[in-house]
């Protein structure tokens, strides 16, 4: 969903202007009102996650007795431990990590190769290929799902993470190519000429000149490919049947599908499922900001 943020972030070269201290201190009652309103809004946004966290550490007896809106009377890790064990959470985590990493690496490599040929090579028919790639980006996954399902089943890759890796590498690289070929289309001509004068061939120019200069954009693409793939749900659900190959979102969905599931176990499982996402966000935030500030390519 946040596909555009890359584009938007890359186009905003200027960081927030430093606010003069004087202006900061003249605050009207209207300014305070805005602060209060926006804070209330933010609290409403946050509240489902806060309530979820409170109940993730409750026993079901505690929940039944005092309801979901109180702090846990006897805090317990049992819900989290139970989901950790029954869902084989470490396996699911490693699966998600492996799939997302492979897709991010391969997706970036394909995007770079494509964009080098389209944006810098200006291969004949490049406009048609870019148009085709734009169409590929718009495709709803359902319109590919059944043929892909049949194809991969026939070649024995049903229930295989390899199938998921291949599919999402191509889906993500379609977006990456769309974005990066536009960036390479405006790559500084002088640098390319200098590279040729230095006697570099195409491959050397790509590796030693184009790649390092466009690294900020590429690293942003990498992060987004990773997160998008981590978050995918429909195709992995249709392809990955066995417990041993499934991903984190699938593990939680399986649990939620069991209607007998009590409220605290589901809360604990949901909390555990969002922890990796929060950790990645903390790690990646810096990388993302680097990409935004550097923005050297455009």
């Amino acid at each position: 969903m946040s596909e555009v943020s890359i584009r938007a972030k890359m186009s905003s070269k200027k960081k927030a202007e430093e606010v003069p201290l004087k202006a900061k201190h003249i605050r009207s009652w209207g300014d305070w009102l805005v602060l209060v309103l926006l804070s209330v809004g933010a609290i409403v946004m946050l509240s489902p996650l806060v309530i979820l966290t409170m109940n993730a550490f409750k026993t079901i007896g505690d929940y039944n007795a005092s309801g979901p809106l109180t702090m846990p009377a006897h805090p317990t890790m049992s819900g989290i431990v139970s989901f950790w064990n029954t869902s084989h959470f470490p396996v699911k985590f490693v699966n998600s990590l492996l799939i997302s990493l492979v897709v991010a690496v391969l997706g970036v490599m394909l995007s770079v190769l494509n964009s080098f040929a389209l944006g810098i090579g200006k291969v004949k028919g490049n406009r048609w290929i870019v148009l085709m790639i734009m169409l590929a980006n718009m495709m709803p996954q359902e319109a590919l799902l059944y043929p892909l399902y049949t194809m991969f089943k026939r070649i024995g890759l049903y229930n295989s993470q390899l199938a998921i890796m291949i599919i999402f590498t191509v889906i993500q690289s379609a977006y990456g190519t769309y974005l990066l070929s536009a960036v390479y289309g405006t790559f500084p001509q002088a640098i390319l000429e200098a590279s040729t004068l230095d006697g570099a061939n195409r491959w050397q120019t790509l590796l030693r000149v184009v790649l390092p200069i466009s690294w900020p954009t590429i690293s942003v693409l990498f992060v987004f490919f990773f997160v998008w793939t981590w978050n995918e749900y429909m195709i992995p659900m249709a392809f990955l049947m066995d417990d041993s190959v499934q991903t984190v979102p699938l593990a939680l969905a399986t649990l939620q599908g069991q209607h007998t599931m009590d409220a605290t176990t589901l809360a604990a499982a949901s909390l555990l499922s969002i922890i990796p996402t929060i950790i990645f966000f903390v790690i990646f935030q810096r990388k993302l900001n680097q990409g935004i500030v550097a923005g050297a390519v455009k």
Binding site: M1, S2, E3, V4, S5, A8, S12, K15, A16, E17, V19, K24, I26, R27, D31, L38, G41, A42, P48, I51, N64, G67, P68, L69, L110, N114, A117, L118, I120, G121, K122, V123, K124, M132, A136, M138, M139, P140, E142, A143, L144, L145, Y146, P147, Y149, I171, S173, T196, R202, T205, W230, M234, V248, P249, L252, Q256, A263, L266, S273, I278
Partner: protein, 312 residues
């Protein structure tokens, strides 16, 4: 651009001394994989929409029968009617709210309370966007659980216990509650994109308009809105495509029900593929959805081009 320079541009690569054709090898892996994973399946899916197939056994060509059935199928039309409400929840409401929140965060909070407060609040609005959609949906489904859910408990605590209900299981409330959940998931997206666009606006522009005695609304119209028009258009385009593709929340929260009250095209086709094994009909629904998305994107991109031209 003259015709001469155009033809020259087409014949030369941007790397001096290298013919464009020499770059073809770089394109082979990308084009081949695109063909295998997207182009062939997409065409195959269109073909399947003209067949009857249970997923196993022979594929039988039946002409346009699925398509004739589609246009008479009330559930199909209902699914697009619901798509409209999903667009309200994913595009219209978050975009409007996002415009106000982002401009207030930039214009008031960042200036008067500092950028740390502003980015902290922004992060809180963005948090649901970070979560996998499936996980975010399950969390909100948990909040709206029948009987002992947090939302019912909240109503009870406020003395509104009579209003308690099975929010996602009641045909009257299922769609509005689903929409509320989608708004919660989506809101952070326009906020972050618009704020990033607003950093580009020259503060002197605001001051100049302020000196002319403009109030906040006038500043919003005259400065804020035109400045982030590119971001606004991109958000509307991508969010609408996303809304038309909505699957996870519906599948995980309501399975299109109760009855057909929350059915959407994407879930309907999935249901035909994997639950009732009507592959041909599922292919017709998903092809129809693709056509709608492509028509919308083309029309919107044309409008976008006109708007951006008028602004220059």
């Amino acid at each position: 651009m003259s015709l001469h320079s155009k033809t020259r541009g087409a014949a030369l690569s941007r790397l001096p001394g290298n013919k464009p054709s020499r770059f073809v090898p770089y394109l082979i892996p990308g084009v081949l994989s695109l063909a295998v994973v997207i182009i062939v399946p997409a065409i195959w899916n269109v073909y399947l929409s003209f067949t009857r197939w249970r997923g196993v056994g022979p594929v039988r060509f039946i002409g346009a029968a699925n398509w004739r059935r589609l246009f008479r199928d009330e559930m199909f039309w209902k699914s697009f009617e619901n798509s409209f409400w999903i667009i309200v929840a994913i595009v219209i409401i978050p975009t409007v709210l996002g415009l106000f929140i982002s401009s207030l965060l930039t214009d008031v909070i960042q200036k008067k309370f500092g950028s740390k407060v502003a980015s902290f609040l922004r992060a809180l609005y963005y948090l649901p966007q970070l979560l996998p959609v499936a996980v975010a949906s399950i969390i909100m489904g948990w909040i709206f659980r029948p009987d002992d859910g947090a939302f019912n408990a909240l109503l009870h605590a406020m003395g509104l216990g009579v209003l308690q209900g099975n929010w996602l299981g009641n045909p009257k409330t299922a769609l509005p509650v689903l929409m509320f959940i989608l708004i919660w998931i989506q809101l952070g997206y326009p906020v972050v994109i618009f704020m990033s666009g607003l950093q580009r606006v020259d503060p002197e522009l605001y001051e100049a308009v302020g000196l002319d005695g403009a109030n906040w609304w006038q500043k919003f119209y005259v400065v804020t809105l035109p400045s982030i028009m590119p971001e606004l258009l991109v958000v509307i385009l991508t969010a609408t495509i996303g809304a038309l593709k909505t699957f996870g929340p519906v599948y995980l929260l309501t399975k299109g029900g109760p009855g057909t009250t929350t059915i959407v095209p994407s879930y309907y086709s999935y249901n035909q593929f994997f639950q009732v094994q009507q592959v041909g009909y599922g292919a017709a629904i998903s092809t129809a959805l693709t056509v709608v998305i492509i028509i919308f994107s083309v029309v919107f991109t044309i409008i976008q081009g006109h708007v951006e031209k008028n602004m220059d």
